[in-house]
């Protein structure tokens, strides 16, 4: 099981290719909102960019808040599965997320990162990565490790 981390956001140029890819390939939509990863500036483009995406909480508060089981915990590694057919658009999942990672569209349908990694090849600066869930990495948004010699 893998977990999707935005590990090198200091390199982000704000092109939104990841969001558009997620919308296109996962949510079958043309959008930069209805996507499991969304890019915000942290106070105007001169202050850098932030990726808003699921941190793979375990247990996941969104799944706990979901009244129908539409959001259910993945078998391992944290994060959730989303079964659209069970969703009643109540928005409880989005309210429960501590990092605003769940987007609700105009009709109240949630979108959340499912840790599939399909957006990763579209990042031109290698900001994104799938990491092994078995050895959970801290959710650092910028590279903080020193390369081994």
């Amino acid at each position: 099981m893998k977990v999707h981390r935005a590990v090198r956001m200091e390199r982000c140029i704000g092109c939104h290719s990841c969001s558009l890819a997620c919308a296109r390939l996962v949510y079958k939509n043309f959008s930069w909102n209805t996507a499991g990863i969304r890019i915000r500036s942290t106070g105007g483009v001169s202050s850098g960019f932030q990726a808003v995406l699921c941190l793979a909480c375990d247990p996941a508060p969104c799944a706990a808040a979901c009244p129908t089981g539409a959001m259910s915990p993945r078998k391992s590694g944290g994060g959730v599965l989303l079964k659209k057919s069970l969703c009643v658009q109540c928005g409880k999942c989005a309210a429960a997320c501590p990092v605003e990672a769940i987007n609700l569209d105009a009709a109240g349908n949630p979108s959340v990162c499912i840790h599939c990694g399909q957006c990763i090849p579209f990042c031109p600066h290698d900001c994104l990565e799938l990491v092994e869930a078995a050895a959970p990495a801290a959710p650092c948004l910028e590279s903080c490790n020193v390369a081994e010699k």
């Binding site: 290719s17 939509n29 043309f30 909102n33 106070g43």
Partner: protein, 589 residues
Amino acid sequence: MSPKNNDPDLFRVLVYDLSARRGDIVLVPGRGRYIGGSGLAALLFEKYGLPTAAPFDPGQPLIFAIGPATGYFPLMSKTVCGFKSPYNGNYAESHAGGRSALALRFAGFDALVVTGKAARLSTLVVGSRRIELLDVHYLRGADVFTTGKLLRKIAAGASGHRSIMRIGPAGENGSAYACINVDTYRHFGRLGAGAVMGAKNCKALVVMGDGDLALPEDKAYPKLFKDIHDKVTASGMMEKYHNLGTPANVLPLNALKSLPWRNLAATTDPEADKISGEAFAEKLLMHNAACAGCPVGCIHVGMVREMFSASHRFAIHQVAYDHEPNFAAGPMLGVTDPSEVLAINDVADRQGLDIISAGVALAWAVEATQKGLVSEKETEVKLAFGDAAAFKRAMWLLGHKVNDFYAALGQGALVAARQYGGEDFACVLGQEMAGYATGETYFASQTVSFRHSHLDTGAYSYDQKHKEKDVDAVVKFLVDDERERVLLTCLVACLFAREVYKPEVVAAALSCLGHGELAAGIDAAAENARRARWRLKLATGYDPLATRIPKRFAEIETWKGPVDAAYMEALRAGYAAAVLSLGAPLPSA
């Protein structure tokens, strides 16, 4: 295809009347003939423009148009602004990216047309479920960056998916080359769109891309997207744009005697290495940024570290740079410290001035000072080539229109020259020159071409490859090359993508998006759009035959030797005649 609109021929347009404080959503037919972007802006000016009324007439539209491929494919990331220019009185276009194009797309509009004049200084906020005019009288006089910072709070929402297009003091003061700043680092730079916005009492437009659209149904779409994405990111095709960026031009241009120095007194200088693309990248480049929807990331942001106190206290300024701004604040003004080049740019940017025109106009003012035509009585600060502190001060004086001299200079170097003398050395080719002193082809092209822009044709590149003098061949090149570029600016592709979006790729992309019929007739549509633009420019008073190239351009030397004035004049006259023919009224008109 536009949202809530199943007919591919219809454009979905928001027409907002600032006087009446209300908007209308209008479905305008014409995709098949006008495509979008440049073509759509022309179509909308045909529909809403007042060809014979003044540029600042409240009834004039300020148009922002995107194209059929906007957001659907990489580098389809720019917006075309159409308006009647206060610089030359003609119908004009200016192009910008930032988030503007995708924000309009996801707000659900192919175009936004702003008409009328607000009773008080206002900001128009547009989203997929929001249309609102906010009173922002308290922002009067605010610089571009302050305006952006405050508007992020005033028009909160859609963070990261919002475009803030705003003007500074220059736009409020009616400078004929006031720009519209887009998302801090990009601009509708040239020909005065910012002043048109100012005349409408419109401080800013905030467009929120907060809607969702259906994915194209064609199964080939994701693969075609990936193919194009791979091409632009993996092949090195865009290397020159994301590595050093356009300032990579400096050393080659200087070596070819094609870089304008000190108001075009020279075309080469041994100091060029101080302000090369390499020097900027090594010393000042902080990071890159991208327009939304473009993985290339050609925006280069440099850092100016300003020590404001002797006890090592610093202020940091982040300034986007490119060849054109660097030229206008650098060699053209005799400034060779890259940090000072950015600092001058920064002050001009805060005023909401087009830095190319502002820098070139100040270069004229320096030479006018040297020749005794103006003095500190007019300029308030002593202007001399290389004196960056003086230029920073002058940019503020220009943006704030502090006296009659700066009022005239803010209308263009030639306007000031007509008043104070010195028309021969005003480096104006339709508008203040861009940073290419490549020779006769470029000078004739910028003088006559539609936007008077270095991007209208590949003339600067032609000059660097051709020494032979063949008027017919050059005119044919300019006419053919313009049409190819108009096709791209109808889609609206970034012109940096012209190597990627060859005709077969454009056809495949449009077919994928449900515009198969348009794809089949794309050449005819691009030609129609190009001619519509020229008809509008002529109908608003442009006489290409009456254009002239100031004497200074005949006094210089390029790699080809001294400029041949007679040949340059033949090119100008030849291209002008071709333009008259392109802009001929329709038979039925």
